[in-house]
């Protein structure tokens, strides 16, 4: 029977013998792993309601802005300055500046928390 040369070369490879300290080294790593407390999971349950409420605020803001645009000029090719003023006034009346600031701070705090947790694991 003619054996493929490639089969002979690749299947006849000699085994590598693990070093004598290999088992000890693995078991030391396993014991260290067992002694380490599990990482604290990110508190999504607490964060999600906050994120959801900010998303609602953002959507309401966008709806208000588009409603203002709709009420303004019919189809301007460039947004006139009077429309811009109307939009800004509309945004101010519903407290959009504070909402945007709060959203930004929430985002920053979530990002920071994720990084701190990620750095620990």
């Amino acid at each position: 029977m003619i054996h493929d040369n490639l089969d002979r070369m690749l299947s006849g490879e000699e085994d590598v013998v693990p070093s004598s300290g290999f088992v000890t080294s693995v078991m030391d790593a396993v014991r260290r792993e067992a002694a380490t407390p599990p990482p604290i999971p990110f508190p999504w349950k607490r964060v999600l309601p906050g994120l959801a409420s900010w998303a609602i605020v953002l959507v309401s803001f966008l709806i208000a802005v588009f409603a203002q645009i709709g009420r303004g000029a019919t189809a301007p090719s460039v947004v006139p300055s009077s429309t811009l003023v109307t939009i800004l006034e509309g945004a101010k009346s519903i407290g959009a500046g504070w909402a945007a600031l709060a959203l930004l701070m929430s985002f920053a705090s979530v990002t920071l928390s994720m990084r701190l947790i990620g750095g620990r694991t």
């Binding site: 040369n5 490639l6 070369m9 690749l10 490879e13 088992v23 396993v30 792993e33």
Partner: protein, 185 residues
Amino acid sequence: MTASDDQADVEKVLAGHIDAFEQIVRRWQSPLVNLAYRFCRDRDRAEDMAQEAFLRAYRALDRWRKDATFSTWLFALATNLYRSELRRVPTVSLEDIAELRDPRAIDGGLEDEDRDRVVRRAVSALPRKYRDVLILFYFHDMDVAAAALSLGLPEGTVKARLSRGREILRRKVPRLLATPSMEEG
């Protein structure tokens, strides 16, 4: 026998007896180090990779569903790890292997041992999908089904990649693979 020993040791570990994991390591250290060596061709790195594989197995022991043998699960986990470890190292192309430009590799003047080593280097330089299939196929004593299980691929895909990988090797190192050995079968 080994399968039931594995299961018993896994149950002990899951019950909190960490030392039972040592029996698993003793039983599977040689296959896992050898498989890692076939991927990276470096003894020290192979041991590091095998250690990481055991550590991941320890962490994931409770996720071993007993529908596959422990060894199948362990090899699949180790293969995944070894493949992703090698992804971080750029693959050497076949053209970059210095030994293949050695005049003795061209005129057939290499000793058997050197020739085998060059061909193994050439396997490591194959595109990943062919390299992985060839390594696993020969590691599992030319068992397509076992290679497919370790790689999580259908047997048909493994066969196709095996055939294509061999074809590339035959084209790239024709002289090294030219002489068939005659053996009684």
